[in-house]
Assembly symmetry: C2
Homo-oligomer: 153 residues x 2
């Protein structure tokens, strides 16, 4: 046995390091919104304006629950309700500039931190990391964004 660190061990180590990155990037936003609220903003930022019911379904929330959660999100100024042009009974939710900025800030912090880590490696090391990670992503295959909701991410 050449090395005591198996590929699975290394993966677990990396998963912890990456989780740390994610946690740090999100924590600043948690001063303003709760994790369930933040994930609503993330879904919104990925989908654009979307109907209340559809959005509730996306985050696996009961409509009544979600309606009140949205009350708080709107009250905080992160999103707005507007009546759908197509149907007067539909309510569209859109991110405000503040809401979009909150999500963007988290994303940018995450990317910046990853870049910082990678810059500690030599270019050739970076290349081998890049290739290996791409390999791993392909092997991991389709991941469901829905799953991440468990963690509120």
């Amino acid at each position: 046995m050449r090395n005591t660190v198996t590929a699975a061990d290394a993966t677990l180590l990396v998963s912890r390091a990456l989780l740390g990155v994610v946690a740090r990037s999100v924590s600043s936003a948690l001063e303003f919104v709760t994790l369930p609220q933040f994930r609503v903003l993330v879904v919104l930022s990925g989908s654009g304006p979307i109907r209340m019911g559809a959005l509730a379904e996306r985050v696996h929330a009961n409509q009544s629950t979600f309606s009140r959660s949205m009350d708080k999100i709107v009250a905080g100024g992160w999103a707005v309700r507007s009546t759908s042009p197509g149907s007067r009974r539909e309510i569209l939710i859109s991110l405000t500039d503040a809401g979009r900025a909150l999500v963007d800030e988290v994303t940018e912090r995450r990317q910046a931190e990853i870049s910082t880590i990678l810059k500690r490696l030599t270019p050739s090391e970076q290349e081998s990391v890049r290739a290996a990670l791409e390999l791993f992503s392909i092997a991991a295959g389709e991941y469901s964004v829905e799953e991440l909701l468990v963690l509120g991410i």
Copy 2:
């Protein structure tokens, strides 16, 4: 530009894939305990029996909050209180077999899933993934377990 996938992009992809793995592994435990409760069990499994106050500090919880959370964890049969042999005013918390099993189950599921992913690669690919991940871990440096508490992991 040889490749459109930069190292940072690849890292983000992997972080999502790994977060999916973590989310899936934890979700089964969430049928029984809440995320804040589960993270107490994780800390306990890493530390062994520990005093109430110290444990509260480890999870960044107010003592009063924590005392009541522990009521629920104990009521659920995941941990037990016992008076410290050294001092009658100290209460030691220990995992029950059920509590340990709950944590172990999550860990095992996570490892199994990672192994499954890696098995899709050839041995030489696995080796390059292993080396690259190790490299990344080193570059990421010290991560604080505390940070992960934000995500409840």
